[in-house]
Symmetry: C2
Subunit: 220 residues, 2 copies
Amino acid sequence: MSSDSPKRRLNAHLAGLARALGHEHRLELLEHLGQGEKTVELLARRAGVAFANVSQHLQQMRRAGLVTARRNGKRVHYSLADGPVIEAVSALRALAEHNLAEMPEAIRTYLTSIDDMEPVSTDELAARLRDGTVTLLDVRPEDEFRAGHLPGALNIALEDLGDRLTDLPAERQIIAYCRGPYCVLSFEAARLLRASGFDARRLGDGFPEWKAAGRPVESG
Amino acid sequence: MSSDSPKRRLNAHLAGLARALGHEHRLELLEHLGQGEKTVELLARRAGVAFANVSQHLQQMRRAGLVTARRNGKRVHYSLADGPVIEAVSALRALAEHNLAEMPEAIRTYLTSIDDMEPVSTDELAARLRDGTVTLLDVRPEDEFRAGHLPGALNIALEDLGDRLTDLPAERQIIAYCRGPYCVLSFEAARLLRASGFDARRLGDGFPEWKAAGRPVESG
DNA sequence: CTAACGTTCAAGTATTTAATTGAATGAAGG
DNA sequence: CCTTCATTCAATTAAATACTTGAACGTTAG
């Protein structure tokens, strides 16, 4: 009766999208691309995946419409397509979080330890920023910060944080953020800061989610 | 530097979820399960897929935590897991809709023709229901209606609609709904009703999305 | 023009996934 | 108990996907 061909083809199309998201490396690449445009080489280095391999994964995602490529000189710069890609990945995460029970132990403890840091919500952060009662700290690498960051954020990459504690106010609460909800950078930063006597917390989401929610961003 | 094993494993887990959504037949099965619990046999029939094949797809989704199974006598009844499964599929659809340009022509015309029916939004419907100015028509098969439907809806399966036009009010607007945004049932219903002189529209979403949005449902 | 470099392509192998078939389970009914 | 029926399992084949390697392409610099 209702085995309509167009509907089937649409489902096949949706399935193709899902499969394009269905690989560990591609999800990692998307997370990095969420921070801003990047070259293949940089992505390969950051993700720790073989070069040609990254190129192929990127092309697969390009075919699916998840990312776009632009050539500039010898390099090809990839970035997220402007559809709701972040939202789709977030939906996957929400799905995963709901089934915590069915996850391997190692992942579960990882997630709950991240949760123990009492993450600040995006709404809460926005309010605190209006009040001006917190210092906002971006602990991603500098190039990602330059490509886009939350308004008024201070950038100290996690690896430099230990050497630059004196740049931070001792009396104000510090909220650290990084690439996304499961990115360890802000988690490690908050831990380090707390151990050094600061009042530190972390943002539950990261830059891509903030931007995807339509909130203002700065760059440069 | 930050090639943390737990994070990688989490991405692998997310990728597994995405792959569990990454097949035409599984998406179709999820759509049917969104209407309510169903046996393997019924699913195989409704989806037009070979029996053992359906069983294997279901088990794959069960392993991924997308669906649950319960045995009752000789039959095994599958239903959606209680995580945000509908939301994840909706995210995929949103992604697909955003890239209309990159879709094969056949699908694109299918989608735009559906859109030409000026779908009613969930919010709009809720308001109109409060006013009591519309008749709500559920055109899914009776078993799906019994398993759950929108409050106050009248059930006439699409295949019976032509014979039961006299059961419908000529003076009130009729809003038809079915299984989801891309389900043809309500589309065909609205077309038939309009051709018969009724003032008919269709709901943009379907029963599963209404329920997933936390709105009230009735059953029986 | 040639060399160097970043990226893509092509080919091969290994692995994973899908569909089909027939046998095996497990519950109900005579 | 033996049969029937719905479902699952196991085994096979076919197809798709991932990774590696080395060659090819296109752009910039000398």
